[in-house]
Point group: C2
Chain length 399, copies 2
């Protein structure tokens, strides 16, 4: 990921001779912006809230909240619900996030398919669209993705098209300079040099953010899933490979290059296999001779699961051992509130793995999250929503 695209707390003065590294200052405007985010977040986490509730929750003055809510309502981000009377006193008017208050487009670029999703402020999916992709040809792929995005936007009612706040892209990582250079279909490394984000920005005019698929899945899990409203969460993502999205201090943690959570590449001590080989779908498909490019791959995996048998049991045991181990390890490293397993994988498989892991009575139980081919695309779409509307440190600083 371009560093410029990630939130950047320290700013290097480009004074050439004398670069000064410093945290940006905070001004009135930044505080105001933050307070709007805090309101939206509070409503997303708690459901509809009245101005009085919001004032208490944020510790801001009633008046301040009155102003903010009014402003958000007129700009179409909040809608008033019916007044509710609870005990004595004047009935409160709760406000909820406006359906379509803001829209976001997400695109997942995967080995064999591109998927787009349109999501609104509440995290509701408004439309889905996909198209087969040949991962060997990024040029043609880019064209296809561009067209898919154009179609996706064209299908929106003209009056809401202007409410799109950004484009999220998700694809397999890692993106940093240390990423392995093997340019095969599996890692999709040859897509990355292409300035994908810049090109899609040019093609769409939208603000663009690039995440790896595990980070995207965690973003989805945070906006609409099990990680909703939690502060510290490990979100394991099982797809072709294995990754983790880390939510730390209430924000997705990316690290220096956005490559945090690349746990698939952890070497198992005392052997030269990688964790990923033992746990992810690629290994499953290899073991059970399911062709990964097959559009009916999910159905075939489910068939293997229902058929059962000792080979399957053995695979599950081995995978659960690896998964349980990495879950415990990440729990020790990050001391989280929850560990979630989600994935682009058939739900029965994730269910079975979750049960197998939890059967070993780990310190932190594994929770089952989204098991859906669309998680990553949803997470991609969730990113611009989070970027624009979630409270975060960077939103409190200048510029």
């Amino acid at each position: 990921m371009d560093e410029a695209l990630s939130a950047c707390q320290y700013v290097l003065m480009n004074d050439a001779a004398n670069p000064i590294k410093a945290v940006l200052g905070a001004g009135l405007g930044a505080a105001a912006a933050h307070n709007r985010r805090a309101v939206i977040d509070a409503i997303r986490v708690n459901g509809p809230l009245s101005r009085a509730d919001l004032a208490r929750a944020t510790r801001l003055a009633k008046q301040t909240l009155s102003n903010i809510v009014e402003e958000l309502e007129t700009s179409g981000l909040l809608v008033a619900c019916d007044p509710v009377t609870e005990g004595r006193g004047k009935p409160a008017t709760p406000y909820d996030l406006a359906p379509m208050g803001a829209l976001s487009v997400g695109v997942q670029i995967d080995r064999t398919v591109a998927r787009t999703v349109v999501m609104d402020l509440r995290g509701a999916v408004l439309s889905r669209r996909d198209a087969p992709l040949r991962s060997r040809d990024p040029e043609a792929g880019l064209k296809l993705v561009t067209r898919l995005l154009a179609d996706t936007r064209a299908a929106l009612a003209p009056d809401v098209r202007g409410r799109i706040v950004g484009l999220g892209i998700a694809m397999p990582g890692p993106f940093g300079p240390d990423a392995p250079a093997t340019r095969d279909d599996y890692t999709m490394a040859h897509w990355r040099g292409a300035g994908l984000a810049a090109q899609l920005h040019a093609a769409t005019g939208l603000e663009v953010a690039l995440q790896n698929d595990a980070a995207a899945a965690a973003t989805a899990e945070r906006l609409t899933g099990r990680a909703h409203g939690l502060r510290d969460v490990v979100c394991l993502y099982l797809g072709y490979g294995l990754g983790a999205g880390l939510i730390l201090n209430g924000e997705l943690y990316g690290g220096r290059h956005g490559d945090a959570g690349e746990i698939g590449m952890i070497p198992l001590p005392g052997s030269d296999t990688l964790l990923e080989h033992q746990v992810a779908l690629a290994g499953f498909c290899e073991t059970f001779a399911v062709p990964m490019a097959d559009p009916r791959m999910f159905a075939r995996i489910e068939a293997v699961l229902t058929r059962g048998g000792p080979a399957l049991d053995a695979w599950i045991d081995r995978a659960a051992a690896g998964l349980g181990w990495v879950a415990q390890m990440l729990a020790l490293v990050t001391d989280p509130q929850a560990v979630i397993l989600c994935g682009t994988a058939p739900r029965p498989l994730l269910e079975r793995l979750t049960q197998a892991v939890n059967a070993a009575a780990p310190r932190v139980a594994l929770q089952l999250g989204h098991a859906d081919p669309w998680v990553v695309a949803m997470g991609a779409a969730a990113e611009p929503i989070a970027r624009n509307f979630d409270p975060k440190y960077a939103a409190l600083l200048k510029s």
Copy 2:
């Protein structure tokens, strides 16, 4: 760690019936407080800076900075340096952190010893003090620590005594409810229930913060060591056990209970040893029959090192393998800018381990940090300085 003692972004309304979880709002005052922190941090990271430099770096108006600098100068936190003329224009007056501008006391409570350190705003150590401790007896230990702290403060000049901003405590973790209950000398688990922080707060009247030793070491490394000015750092800490302090997004990351980084307890897959048994000082002392309670333990370890021999080589190899593995793993998980090894251990041992790890050409080279019996105490003292003067999210929010 009491959750109340850790920075808490989400606040639970104690409305009993209807708890609302929300991020606090931001006000004028919080922004002002943040800007003061940003100034102090910028000077700490870059060295003396003029008002103009600071204005550019923080993107605040010249005037704003003039006000802030004046205020910080009169409150004794900054001092003007001699004006420097650089090319054309009026010479700039750089400001530096005032020696003794603020003081902090740190106490390390270890298995056999208690150490106190007084540190100033710049991270300079003003005094050290230690006393032997019998870890079996927390009651007597608490008295001893209290006396040690009283002595430490009494030895300060009366006019600076009022400048103490807090008391940092560091001791072996973990602190969370999942911590193993074995109450032996090694884990010091029986110290933890004692409400240590609360009691020392009562005894000293100072604001108290409790960290595990690895977190403290990372805090020291951040204020005065290799992690200075970096945003994402893994700091491995080798003492009796092995731990990690994680600096993520420029702040020490603690997790739910302040137990993040407890990597010593990671089980090595396919065996039932813990990582710690392979890497830390406890294992070394056992292997080479060095009594851990011996006050001359360091010298004896160094003797083993200089003597050398195949047993030593084997131990180093095994430890370096474990250390290198965990360093790589944490680098994959957190995608950091640097991985640092520090410890309460003889410098030659850490040097040798660092070399052995780097000989294997890891993706991220291990850097040698503080190797000093006083790191943890220094880190304990650094915490209140960081808490009061480092820019952080929480400082921008209400109350």
